[in-house]
């Protein structure tokens, strides 16, 4: 790190690679999805880069780097859980929608395909499978590795968003 602070690009690249190797198991243990680990790792590397002037090379490196990693992990988890809470459904509501046929919709898919593309990737993919390709919820569940009810809930959420957009 001392060499990196002195502007040695090769030493800095080696340090960041080593840091990635050091932090990967730490993050993988706390996050289930590999893509999330990669996203968070990138955020951490950028944070290390931004904060590198707060490390002087005279104290151990690991506590400094772990402090930043923990800080970014907590931030990530806070955002993740607050998103989940925001999108949470009531059990009563859920029961009602699980019984609904999700492949039958009053809207024609073609007329709203532009809006579907603007949805989050997962929701857009599920709607495309259901309405463009004509799969049933169970088939979509098998294709995506989700449970059937998770597909229905995701579809329901997507309908809700679309309904709001189209009502405007």
């Amino acid at each position: 790190m001392r060499e990196s602070l002195a502007g040695d690009q090769r030493a800095y690249a080696a340090l960041l690679q080593e840091t990635t190797r050091l932090l990967r198991p730490f993050l993988a243990k706390r996050l289930n999805i590999a893509s999330e680990v990669d996203d968070l790792m990138q955020e951490i590397l950028i944070s290390i880069h931004k904060a590198r002037h707060t490390y002087d090379g005279n104290r151990p490196y690991k506590p400094w780097v772990y402090a930043i990693a923990k800080f970014r992990l907590q931030d990530h988890l806070r955002t993740h859980y607050s998103d989940q809470l925001r999108h949470a459904l009531d059990f009563d509501e859920l029961e009602e929608y699980l019984l609904e046929p999700v492949t039958e919709s009053l809207m024609s898919y073609e007329s709203i395909s532009g809006e579907v593309d603007k949805l989050p990737d997962k929701q857009a993919m599920i709607l495309r499978f259901l309405h463009q390709d004509g799969y049933t919820a169970r088939e979509v569940a098998e294709k995506t590795g989700m449970t059937e009810s998770a597909v229905k809930v995701a579809a329901h959420r997507a309908y809700k968003v679309l309904r709001k957009k189209l009502e405007r």
């Binding site: 502007g7 990138q42 904060a51 400094w64």
Partner: protein, 211 residues
């Protein structure tokens, strides 16, 4: 993984020579020096209380000023440490304000017990809090401006410590300027608002110091 390699390469290209941040003790000394000048200037302009020299012969007044000075020093030090992601690996010192405040509360309690018969209450009330708050503005702005150049991972606590440090400068100024010794008044209008300021600092830290 390829994305990470690309990112590492990009960051490495941007690795110019970096001047390390000053040691937190040095940072703390800088803040305290600036605050001492500010306090001296404020006292020179507003004037010290007429009986200041006489009050320095009263043990509880001296103890209160020393404890308040202790709060100022310790919160300044804590602010400087909290500016670093790893608290400069001096965790205990970063949380030392808890001990300083406990000591300060103890001194106030003993001063209140010793204040018999009680000193008369002044006619004014919230004006004291307002004066301290106004006096606090400049050091607080400076502290937050300095903190933003660092990378605090405890931004709420850093905000709180910075505001408490700035507020203690204001409280010191008023204690040396205002001719009032009623402990009840001091607690209600000088020191209890510190609690509110500390809580406001938690919020302000989140707003201003997140990076």
């Amino acid at each position: 993984m390829a994305n990470i390699d690309d990112l590492v390469a990009t960051l490495a290209q941007d690795a110019a020579t970096v001047k390390p941040a000053p040691h937190p003790f040095l940072l703390c000394f800088q803040w305290m020096g600036a605050a001492a000048i500010y306090l001296a200037l404020a006292l020179a302009i507003s004037g010290p209380r007429p009986d200041l020299l006489d009050r320095f012969h009263h043990a509880w007044f001296v103890a209160e000023i020393v404890a308040l000075l202790g709060v100022f020093i310790v919160t300044s030090l804590s602010t400087a440490l909290l500016a670093f992601p790893d608290l400069h690996q001096k965790r205990r010192l970063a949380f030392a304000p808890i001990a300083a405040f406990t000591l300060f509360l103890g001194v106030l309690f003993l001063a209140w017990r010793a204040d018999a018969p009680p000193s008369p209450l002044p006619v004014h009330s919230f004006e004291c809090t307002l004066s301290i708050a106004l006096m606090t503005l400049l050091p607080a702005a400076w502290a937050f401006y300095s903190l933003r150049r660092f990378a605090s991972t405890h931004y709420r606590l850093a905000g709180s410590a910075a505001l408490l440090s700035a507020f203690s400068v204001g409280a010191l100024w008023l204690r040396l300027h205002e001719d009032t010794d009623s402990i009840a008044h001091l607690v209600e209008w000088h020191y209890l608002p510190m609690l509110v300021i500390g809580l406001a600092g938690l919020w302000l830290g989140k707003v201003l110091l997140k990076w």
